[in-house]
Amino acid sequence: NFTSDNEFHSSFIHRRLKSQERREMQREILSILGLPHRPRPHLHGKHNAAPMFMLDLYNAMTTDGDENRYSYPYKPIFTTQGPPIASLQDNNFLNDADMVMSFVNLVEHDKEFLPVRRHHREFRFDLSRIPEGEAVTAAEFRIYKDFIHERFDNETFRISIYQVLEEHSDRESDLFLLDSRVIWAAEEGWLVFDVTATSNHWVLNPGRNLGLQLALESTNGESISLRVAGLIGRSGPQNKQPFMVAFFKATEVHLRSIR
């Protein structure tokens, strides 16, 4: 029944839809969205950092008048070495993207390896559910840094992000340094790291996705816990949770499979 209690006169024949017809209709609408079934997310809090960021992107894409040109709404904090990812700050990757996806952080360990005391935090993201025929054009890892009261304003830390290459039970993992920069104790906001190459590697080789590691050092090279510099982890507020976001471009024309 399309519009039984609708006050608009319709030239359509009014009839009640059978439940099978209703299900078929919903399946057709889902197929328009490229979905085989209706997703059932376990968390759908719209105040988490990732959905809020993605809603900003959605609003930027749909309300900038000309749907084809929109500006990247999320300005990360610029550390002493200038914009963290110059390429990501121009908007082409956003305008060209067919799809943008944010990934929830699946696991987080704050670890400390002895005898050489090395604090680090591990993050994991599942990039295995990306629709076929989509290539990563840009990807970012985002973590929030709070202002920290107990430190001196002019104090600085060195933060480094690594891709985990190989894990070992008896010793530290083999790591590949992606980026390293100096941050000020007084800074507050989103730290953004370019993980485009790593994401492409994970999409092509899902088995090699062993996550990322973040490590922090004081100016004299001493390893310190990320909490000391105000870096928010899973125990922090929902709207400051770390996440990853990737921008995709379709690499082939999607021909709907014959039904």
Binding site: N1, F2, T3, S4, D5, N6, E7, F8, H9, S10, S11, F12, R16, L17, R22, M25, Q26, I29, I32, L33, G34, R38, P39, R40, P41, H42, L43, H44, K46, A50, P51, M54, L55, L57, Y58, M61, T62, E67, A97, D98, M99, V100, M101, S102, F103, V104, D126, R129
Partner: protein
Amino acid sequence: SALGGSKQRNANQPKGAKSQVTLRMANIAENSSSDQMQACKKHELYVSFKDLKWQDWIIAPDGYAAYYCEGECAFPLNSYMNATNHAIMQTLVNFINPKSVPKPCCVPTQLNAISVLYYDDSSNVILKKYRNMVVRACGCH
């Protein structure tokens, strides 16, 4: 004629539409008597994700005005029917041989994209652009 834009659509949306699948089709046909068929034009069709109760996984939008094309592409097509040159020819042949040669079809000639923001099963968030979703103009083809 379509009833205002989709914005006005939300205000008039009846509360608690009965059927779970609510595909809102509205078309006020000024002269909808069956013998006097209407000319090919755009009619309102609003797909409501809200009425489909999909808002636990679709973050935005609440729905979208898809529109559809309906109407007759009969001889003489005249110039305002947004027809291709060949569609005019098709009507001439149909005019001469209506039994076996069909009239041109009233179809979308311009379509717009929309973006949809939703959760997948793992609670990742996806923002995807879907082309050819909204009819901007209809014509005889």
